[in-house]
Point group: C2
Chain length 353, copies 2
């Protein structure tokens, strides 16, 4: 499919790298493509960023038939532009599409279109270590119809947003709260898909956690409320008796690409690695007897987030000594060094522009 390109008349100015936050500034152009049953996906185009004009009856507004992805483009010291495992994001987008009755998008074409967009916007990619260009591919239902069914028409779009270093104030351990009252997803539900409603469902528990001074919620499974699943927008890892442990994928956890990368590196480094069920009781016991030495989250936004405290009911578990754990630091450096071209891409994870 051809991609038409319409450029802005006057390029916008990218803010200073030090002034970048997250998710508030968008680049001059976006990618758009439409779907209808007759033509399939069509009218692929790069065009100036603009508002959508949508009917108030647009199905996604009412029934949430929306999926999205999140990945980043990095600029190396030599000025090259790199993507980290973008194929995995488009694969997951299609997995989400199947789960939400949305027509799939050709993965190779989606990657090609993203690269075209990045070529147009290369001035927008910040350069300071830690900064990057956040990429948000999204598909939403566009039929103007009130009634519950899958939409017949869709819009796919890609937004770009230059983002600051996640750890502007240093790579400090965060505190997370295990929710006893709220559940994000359940076996047989849509937890393993990156769909809008999963995030709406997490808001109330997150607000309660914030009120108590915790950065994020650590979710338990929906069935027994006993097994650890994941954190707000990160997967979770524990180091117990020198074993790297993360909850196994079970249908209600998002299969994180950073998670997968950590597992791959851990195995390569000869660590004992396991994906399995971890109950809150096991965690509490491991904390009590001192075998729990580290906890950290993994996700595109922060790569690795060391966890310094986990609260479950009255049990406040401090992990480590207030500084990031050794493995959190090691994984973070290994992955970011590859992303920014400061280390060899031994895993074949990098897609250059």
């Amino acid at each position: 499919m051809d991609i038409s390109i319409t450029r802005v008349e006057k390029q916008g100015k990218r803010p200073e790298d030090s002034a970048l936050g997250f998710g508030t500034i968008f680049t001059d152009h976006m990618f758009n493509m439409d779907y209808n049953p007759e033509k399939g996906w069509h009218n692929a185009r790069i065009e100036p960023l603009h508002n959508f004009s949508i009917s108030p009856a647009t199905m996604t507004l009412h029934y949430g038939q929306t999926i999205f992805e999140g990945l980043k483009a990095y600029k190396t010291a030599k000025g090259e532009i790199q993507l980290f495992r973008p194929q995995e994001n488009f694969k997951r987008l299609n997995s989400s599409a199947r789960g939400l009755c949305i027509p799939e998008i050709d993965e190779a074409f989606a990657l090609e279109a993203l690269k075209e967009l990045l070529k147009v916007e290369k001035e927008w990619i910040p350069e300071t270590p830690g900064t990057s260009l956040y990429i948000r591919p999204t598909v939403f239902a566009t039929d103007p119809f009130l009634g519950v069914r899958a939409s017949h028409t869709y819009r796919y779009f890609v937004l770009l947003s230059p983002v600051g270093a996640y750890y502007a104030e240093g790579f400090n351990p965060v505190k997370i709260l295990i929710s006893k009252d709220h559940v994000r997803a359940v076996r047989g539900g849509v937890g393993e898909y990156k769909t809008a409603g999963n995030y709406a469902a997490s808001l109330l528990a997150s607000e309660k956690a914030k009120e108590e001074g915790y950065a994020q919620v650590l979710w338990l499974d929906g069935v027994e409320q006993k097994y650890i699943e994941e954190v707000g927008a990160m997967n979770i890892f524990f180091v117990i008796n020198d074993e790297l442990v993360t909850p196994m994928l079970n249908g209600s956890i998002l299969p994180g690409i950073t998670r997968n990368s950590v597992l791959q590196l851990g195995r390569k480094w000869g660590m004992k690695v396991s994906e399995r069920k971890i109950s809150i009781d096991e965690l509490a016991q491991a904390h009590k007897d001192g075998s729990l030495t580290e906890a950290f989250g993994s996700g595109t936004a922060a790569v690795i987030s060391p966890v310094g405290e986990i609260k479950y009911g009255d049990n406040i578990m401090h992990i480590g000594d207030g500084t990031p754990g050794k493995l959190a630091v090691k994984f973070n450096e290994a992955i970011t060094n590859i992303q920014y071209g400061m280390a060899e891409d031994t895993e074949n994870w990098i897609e250059k522009l």
Copy 2:
């Protein structure tokens, strides 16, 4: 709060009552109101129906922070306009608001605004028995921000859509399928709120049911996948040993207003009525021994939907003789007669314009 009114220059033409479907035709005007933290809800206005111009980063598009309601206005034979328990819808809208971290809306004001809108659009309310004006109040998150948190700004709007008789081809029993693979909601989740993501989460199972020739999915609970919850957009009732039974509200079932009305009438009529857990095993047993004599759904769209067949795995349960059950007919008539002003409003359910 004042409500400003801007009228269309030329009124649209309402289709013939016989040509009305569901959810595709909208009236000339809509109600809109905005929220920000400084002003609270403000700028209440009735204005010509128009598309929304929204940033592609609008939070609801990405994180599904949206809630809605569904109710109807009916025209009586005398030409009066009636709403059915609208206070309950605005109460439920606020319950959904609390569950999704959305600022509440003054319920009395919401009702007043709806009445104003209906006065402007009274020509759009169809007259044939069974037809009505469907009302869709909706709130969605409007911050243009990529990052998971509750939005700071919102839009509340009300859309109106003239709709045809639900049972154009007669009040025939439907076939429903119990999903063994999929779960819509779970205890601790957002099932009891009318939020967009719940409907997205139901699509795949619904499509599978349709492929097998079933109209809708009957959901089981997310924890044990054993207890009956509700149907796609209806609550469910069974008549077992002359007792009217419906699943108790447990946090994962939408508290239907039609459900509540059926319970109230059943009690008033001296029936044995119970809200309790009903397992699929109990249902299968009651079907086998003949004590299950009726099943029907309840909801705003169809009021009462008789159920003639329920499939669970290999067990196909036929209920009744292919015609609507006696109680389904009785509840349907009692409620629609009140809605259309053909019976006395003994329950104080009607709000006249």
